[in-house]
């Protein structure tokens, strides 16, 4: 077993493709990731899970090379000493307690039983499950299960953490607590890879993103830079309130808003060309109106719009 190359980047992909028979999972992706939290964005079927399975040595690339810390994960399990992986699969050993589950898996990293239990308690504390670690996993809520999975991936203090859709199906409280955990990991200087199909989720965690679309690498870089581009495009904001007409009067007079619509009873849709400017005035305007607001939605502020915009940009170019 060769020693892990300390200088090699955590993740290195060169011209990696993976196809299942005729179906292409990932198409010619080259990528290097080192340090910080990176969001892997893509709608369902974009190739996020295929990418992660390739990284975890579960699949063999059809083309190209993959290196984790300089080592091919299909041929060697050595990189996994430094990697924690949270799969999208929701299946667990429901008959085990979370402490059992994590400490058993921790021992596969070569820890002694005592060490594994000590470390497991520590990571369960870290994800906020210290009170329930003697309960069977089968009795946990969705969010708790997700946090157990994350804790299991952290137990050996890995340098690289890969999380496949960790926020999927979680309630808002669990979501927030998971996001905090991921941010904390990032601030500890670890390399974190987190996938999602919801832009807003990733936005709250990191600015460094990779966008996958139909198996291809669509964009890579800083989310804000991409968003700023997006902001120059028409945006819609949907406000649910008691009296849309009165509210519309207030908005139509302000600068960044160039149009209003009333799609349904109790709904107001405002249109803008400058999303950040609009965001600046919306809260004060709502307060000014004195109306009871039930929700604010941003139907264009999602991954599909972003991808659509990016694709449009490519097409334009």
């Amino acid at each position: 077993m060769s020693d892990l190359n300390k200088k090699a980047p955590s993740i290195l992909l060169e011209g990696v493709s993976k196809w299942y028979g005729e179906v292409i999972g990932i198409n010619d992706i080259s990528l290097a990731i080192e340090g910080g939290v990176t969001g892997i964005l893509g709608s369902n079927g974009a190739g996020k899970s295929t990418l992660f399975k390739l990284l975890m040595g579960r699949l063999k690339p059809s083309q190209g090379t993959i290196r984790l810390f300089g080592i091919d994960p299909w041929k060697s399990t050595a990189p996994y000493r430094r990697i924690g992986y949270v799969s999208e699969s929701e299946r667990m050993y429901d008959w085990m307690t979370s402490l059992d589950f994590i400490s058993t898996l921790a021992r596969l990293h070569g820890m002694s039983r005592e060490e594994a239990i000590k470390r497991s308690k520590h990571v369960l504390d870290f994800v906020g499950l210290e009170d329930v670690h003697h309960k069977k996993i089968g009795k946990y809520s969705k969010g708790m299960r997700q946090r157990v999975k994350i804790a299991h991936a952290l137990v050996h203090d890995p340098d690289l953490i890969i999380l496949d859709e960790p926020l999927h199906g979680c309630d808002p409280i669990a979501r927030t607590s998971i996001m905090n955990v991921v941010r904390e990991l990032g601030s500890q200087g670890k390399t974190v890879l987190i996938s999602s199909h919801i832009l807003e989720e990733i936005e709250r965690i990191t600015e460094q993103i990779v966008i996958l679309h139909n198996g291809k690498l669509l964009a890579i870089g800083n989310l804000h830079a991409i968003r700023d581009l997006l902001d120059q495009h028409p945006h819609r904001i949907l406000i649910k309130c008691e009296n849309p007409r009165d509210l519309a009067k207030l908005f139509i007079t302000s600068g960044p808003i160039y149009g209003v619509r009333f799609p349904d009873v109790g709904q107001l849709e405002i249109q803008t060309n400058n999303l950040s400017a609009a965001h600046d005035i919306i809260p004060s305007t709502l307060v000014e109106s004195g109306q009871k607001i039930t929700s604010i939605e941003n139907p264009d502020d999602n991954l599909d719009s972003l991808i659509g915009y990016l694709l449009g940009g490519i097409n334009d170019g």
Binding site: Y80, S87, M92
Partner: protein, 559 residues
């Protein structure tokens, strides 16, 4: 500093490997323990053992009661003397007039069929046909019609038919008599009288005297059970052994009777022959050795020698061994050895894939090949300890219930260890095979395994019937059964003798059905060689299957 140094010493590659193995083995054990099907299979195995033990207590244990193997404890004619006692005195057990101490006819002379002189006078006991002019008749000398003794009360009431005997009329049976008008009699049978007798041409008359009747104490019937034990002194080089303890071979006049043309059959249902084994010594048992002169090849007794041995010693011991060998082969190796892997090993890796939990284990720094090995070890820890406990349970119970002087039969222990070991090797071989089949074809692996299981079952039965049959060697349990056969011979070296004694002395022990000497001794006839050969075959197969499974799994993409 000390701490760090101590830690680094403990953190060797080996201890880490050890911990990974321990974790997966432990996980596998806990998973198996958490599955209901595991407990169902193990429970069924346990119930099977309880049933077999009930059978043991009911039939094998009862079978230790003494049996009259040669059937001479009966008293067919109801004269109070058992057959064995009557045979000693040379009497028939069909005639209540013949019994030990009954008066016997001793012949003095006779008028033959073709003798010139046809008349004789005197005071004798007679047997034959003639006309009697009596001086005195012993009318107390009576018997039943079929014993040939003339009943004088009947004779006085019977007038002879008109005409000449053997021309105009014939006597109806031996024991017939009738009177003429002139106080003479025609007699055809046995009687005691004084007077002149004229014997017709073509007839015969014997005369002599009856011995005095004397009283013989009737033997109890139980005396003729286990009365002719196997007299074997264990000295192999002494070929002629055995002694006719109950005297039913040594009785001299049986030979005379045989020459006489009246056949007697011995307890094997063959014509009585007091030198049936043709070694020139009457009423002995010939113990023939093999070429090396260290093992008995066959046992040939003369008629009725050593034919009613001590059942406690031979039947009980043999039945006990038959039970253990039968249970070891049928229940342990063939049934448990096949069903546990079928239910527990097939899904060792496959189930993890189906449950979607495999990635937890494979995203750790552990090789897939290692992973399969540890899974199998976990499965073996569960099934192996189960088999060990089950064999211990049945072993201890039968060792306490079984025949023998001690409280517990210590000589059974190595046999049970051998059975447990053979079953363990079978569990490992089938486990590796079924797990590999489940990996090669997750969909059809179970069906392939079942077909394979049927093959193994049939080959196992054939191996029990005849281990020398080449085809049956193309199976796994053939080799495990060889181990049991060999261990039996090592732990109970006299099993071969018991088996030969059973066939030589007609003891129905079943030992020859369930046990045969080991076949694969490479010509050495040494059971240890057979054990080593079998271990080699089984472990080679297991390692081969493990290797195939590992290489299949190593190149498998996990979706």
């Amino acid at each position: 500093m000390m701490d760090e140094k101590g830690l680094s010493l403990r953190e060797t590659v080996w201890s880490q490997l050890d911990r990974k193995a321990g974790a997966i083995i432990e996980l596998t054990i806990r998973q198996l323990r958490n599955r209901i099907s595991t407990w169902v299979v193990l429970g069924v195995g346990f119930l099977l053992m309880i049933l077999l033990l009930a059978f043991y207590v009911d039939s094998v244990r009862e079978g230790f009661e003494s049996i009259d193997n040669d059937g001479d404890s009966v008293d067919m004619d109801g004269d109070g003397y058992p057959l064995g006692q009557e045979i000693k005195y040379g009497h028939s057990d069909w005639d209540s007039n013949q019994f030990p101490g009954s008066s016997e006819f001793i012949q003095v002379s006779a008028i033959g069929y073709n003798d010139q002189v046809r008349a004789i006078s005197g005071n004798y006991t007679w047997s034959g046909a003639g006309t009697l002019n009596p001086i005195w008749i012993d009318s107390n000398y009576v018997g039943q019609q079929w014993s040939g003794i003339i009943n004088w009360f009947d004779v006085d009431n019977t007038s002879c038919p008109l005409g000449t005997v053997y021309e105009d009329w014939w006597p109806q049976y031996f024991g017939y008599g009738c009177h003429y008008e002139n106080n003479e009699y025609f007699v055809y049978g046995k009687f005691t009288a004084s007077g002149e007798i004229v014997v017709p041409d073509g007839s015969e008359m014997l005369w002599g005297y009856n011995t005095e009747l004397f009283y013989v104490e009737p033997d109890p019937k139980s005396m003729y059970i286990n009365e002719d034990d196997i007299d074997w002194n264990g000295i192999l080089l002494q070929k002629s052994q055995g002694f006719d303890d109950d005297g039913d071979c040594l009785r001299y006049n049986w030979i005379l009777d045989s020459e006489d043309g009246s056949f007697y059959y011995d307890n094997d249902g063959e014509p009585f022959d007091n030198d049936k084994n043709d070694n020139g010594i009457i009423c002995d048992v010939l113990w023939l050795l093999d070429d090396d002169l260290d093992e008995i090849e066959s046992i040939e007794p003369d008629s009725n020698v050593d034919e009613d041995p001590d059942d406690e010693r031979y039947m009980g011991e043999s039945s006990h061994r038959t039970f253990i060998i039968g249970v070891g082969k049928m229940a342990f190796v063939i049934m448990i050895g096949l069903f546990l892997p079928l239910f527990l090993a097939l899904g060792l890796v496959r189930d993890e894939t189906e449950n979607g939990t495999l990635h937890y284990l494979l995203s750790k720094p552990i090789h897939r090949g290692e992973f399969i090995l540890y899974r199998l070890l976990g499965y073996l820890a569960v099934t192996g300890s189960y088999v060990f406990m089950l064999s211990l349970f049945v072993g201890i119970l039968t060792a306490i219930l079984g025949p023998g002087e001690g409280i517990i039969r210590l000589s059974d222990i190595p046999v049970w260890l051998g059975i447990g070991f053979a079953t363990f090797l079978v569990l490992a071989a089938y486990g590796a095979l079924f797990n590999t089949l489940g990996l090669i074809s997750p969909k059809y692996g179970v069906y392939i395994s079942i077909v394979f299981g049927v093959w193994e079952f049939v080959m196992g039965i054939l191996t029990i019937a005849n281990p020398n049959w080449t085809l049956s060697a193309i199976s796994i349990n053939h080799w495990a059964l060889q181990i049991i056969d060999s261990v039996v011979l090592l732990a109970w070296p006299d099993t071969l003798q018991l088996q030969q004694m059973a066939s030589a002395f007609n003891l129905d022990t079943g030992l020859d059905i369930f046990w045969k000497p080991p076949a694969h001794t490479l010509g050495t006839a040494n059971p240890t060689v057979a054990i080593l050969v079998s271990i080699f075959v089984l472990s080679t197969f297991t390692i081969l299957m493990l290797g195939i499974g590992q290489s299949v799994f190593k190149n498998r993409e996990i979706m």
